[in-house]
């Protein structure tokens, strides 16, 4: 698979995060946001975030790599930072009813599908509807068509996805976790769309 490089979690001991929390104060320059990942199993949700988390080269940034929770700080050009706390969710149908526990209070939802799988695109639309009904009203949503490198097997047209996204007030992008195409752009674009007033999360 394209995103198979793996590093053991450096900060494996739960005790090690004691006392770090005070550095993640939310102010207008340094945001901390909860981002929830939704999408069918096998669309590459975790590959996308691993690409993002490992692709940042700022040595000063604190990175947490677990299997399903990751955090990474993105430094923007206007010298502000955004610390993404990325909550992965299980995509299998049997776990769908549990998703509200995860997207509750999320500032960002990234809904992922696989451009070679129409089923995963329908599933993405299901998540969008769920979020519109039950998510926070000011949630920033992104629709992500992953596996863009497999364009010869494409079965969801970018045009359809774009139209759907625009109709639902979402940002749309196609990515490839394998080649890293558009991965940073995805997170940078999300960062730009975040409301800049300090939130009381």
């Amino acid at each position: 698979m394209g995103c198979s490089s793996s590093l053991p979690a450096k900060n494996a001991g739960p005790l090690s995060s004691l006392g770090n929390e005070s550095s993640t104060v939310t102010d207008s320059k340094n945001l901390r946001v909860k981002l929830v990942l939704l999408g069918d199993s096998g669309v590459g949700k975790s590959c996308i975030v691993l690409r993002f988390v490992r692709g940042q080269f700022d040595p000063s940034s604190k990175v947490t790599v677990g299997a399903s929770f990751l955090s990474q700080t993105l430094a923007l050009q206007d010298s502000t930072t955004v610390k993404f706390e990325i909550w992965d969710t299980a995509g299998q149908e049997r776990y769908a009813a549990l998703a509200p526990l995860y997207y509750r209070g999320a500032a960002v939802a990234v809904v992922v599908y696989d451009i070679t799988s129409p089923e995963s695109f329908s599933k993405a639309q299901y998540w969008v509807k769920e979020l519109q009904k039950h998510g926070s009203p000011d949630i920033v949503m992104a629709l992500v068509g992953n596996k863009a490198d497999l364009h010869e097997n494409r079965s969801v047209s970018a045009q359809d996805a774009l139209e759907y996204a625009e109709k639902n007030g979402m940002f749309f992008i196609e990515t490839s976790a394998k080649t890293a195409d558009n991965i940073n752009q995805l997170f940078e674009e999300i960062a730009k769309r975040l409301p800049r007033t300090p939130s009381s999360s």
Partner: protein, 383 residues
């Protein structure tokens, strides 16, 4: 894992904190803590408002300690460890009042735990979508053990650490497998199914009360990011188990119900000591669907009111005869039931179990075997 002591410098651990409170200069803090604890006697216990009171108190104390002469020029981590110590102290004192004290919580705890005892009989990793590469019962055992430790602690932080340690064991397994097989890295698609499976295996004591307690009483500023995520995963495992049905395990609803029924049967038969009081009931009464069935006073069951110590040699002979009849009837009944609905292996196993548990010799001396005998009669009633 000893959550409080391991490798923590003395001035940062709980005892360091207590020692500091013993200094004369800390009298004002001690007074504040005491009057806070006493104030609880003014209110009826209520989880939500108790939680609000504790959270507010810890915030106030944080401000006080930051400006306190005893912590003058103390680094942030020392202040932090003082508040952690305070959380532990206060919550240990308030534990009986705040932990699983409402009847609803206690009821939910029992329901979940009983359900898990049934699920343990037939839920396999495949039912939950655990990929075959990751099916590693030996590693899961460590995660199971961590979760089972949760009632060894009273402080919310330490209970949360049990959860974190459990999740960390699973994470390490996932990372190791993705490194050695060079496969796609695991995410929640793999993590959550394993966590649910581990939760079923562990059947952690008072699951619901523990999760609720951690959520309400862990310092709010500490229950963020990773900690919050993993606690949410346990809540999600609880919800999955509470609402479990055939479709959540990809089986027909009828098959699911059948498995639950068989598990109920196996638990009842396999655990005769869980109803040891039965033989002492005088006259013995059994209930089936709410109807009382009186067994005492009838010539048909001459031994129901007797004590093991009073039996004569003749009695034992008769008892053995009755026992054999019972086993024969039981076996036939099992056969019939099996043909109708129940799982064959389970019943054969159960019948074998029964024979093993009630050895024909030394029935008189062995009170346990006598109970088994009664229980084997009782086992029939669950149909």
């Amino acid at each position: 894992m000893d959550a409080s002591a391991a490798a923590t410098p003395l001035h940062l651990d709980f005892y360091g904190f207590l020692n500091r409170l013993r200094r004369p200069g800390a009298a004002d803090l001690v007074g504040a803590v005491k009057s806070f604890l006493v104030s609880f006697s003014l209110y009826a216990p209520d989880a939500e408002s108790d939680s609000r009171r504790v959270q507010d108190f810890l915030l106030t104390m944080e401000r006080t300690i930051k400006q306190h002469p005893l912590w003058a020029n103390a680094p942030d981590e020392e202040i932090d460890s003082a508040i952690e110590g305070l959380e532990k102290y206060v919550m240990t004192k308030l534990f009986d009042r705040t932990f699983g004290s409402s009847t609803e919580d206690a009821k939910l705890d029992v329901e979940i735990s009983e359900k898990i005892r049934l699920l343990q009989h037939f839920v396999k990793p495949d039912h939950l979508d655990v990929p075959i590469d990751l099916q590693n019962e030996a590693s899961w055992l460590f995660a199971v053990k961590e979760l089972q430790k949760i009632n060894a602690f009273k402080a919310p932080r330490e209970k949360l650490l049990c959860i974190m340690n459990c999740c960390q064991v699973i994470n390490n397994l996932l990372l190791n497998v993705s490194m050695t097989t060079n496969s796609a890295p695991a995410g929640a698609d793999e993590f959550l199914p394993i966590l649910i499976y581990v939760t079923i295996k562990a059947n952690p004591p008072q699951l619901h009360s523990n999760l609720k307690y951690v959520q309400l009483f862990r310092r709010r500023e500490k229950l963020v990011s990773e900690m919050e995520y993993y606690l949410t995963n346990l809540f999600s495992a609880e919800m999955f188990i509470t609402n479990i049905n055939g479709s959540s395990l990809s089986m027909k609803e009828s098959e699911f119900q059948k498995s639950m029924q068989a598990a109920r049967f196996a638990n009842e038969v396999g655990d005769p000591y869980s109803v040891p009081e039965l033989a002492k009931v005088d006259p013995p009464i059994m209930t089936r669907h709410g109807k009382e069935i009186h067994l005492g006073g009838s010539n048909k069951y001459p031994f129901m009111e007797r004590d093991a110590e009073d039996l004569t040699r003749e009695d034992v002979k008769m008892l053995l005869g009755l026992y054999k009849q019972l086993v024969t009837k039981y076996t036939r009944l099992s056969e019939a039931l099996r043909r109708h609905s129940l799982d064959e292996d389970l019943l054969i196993h159960t019948a074998r179990d029964l024979t093993r548990r009630v050895p024909s010799k030394s029935i008189v001396k062995d009170k346990g075997a006598f109970h088994s005998f009664i229980a084997s009669g009782r086992a029939l009633k669950c149909f």
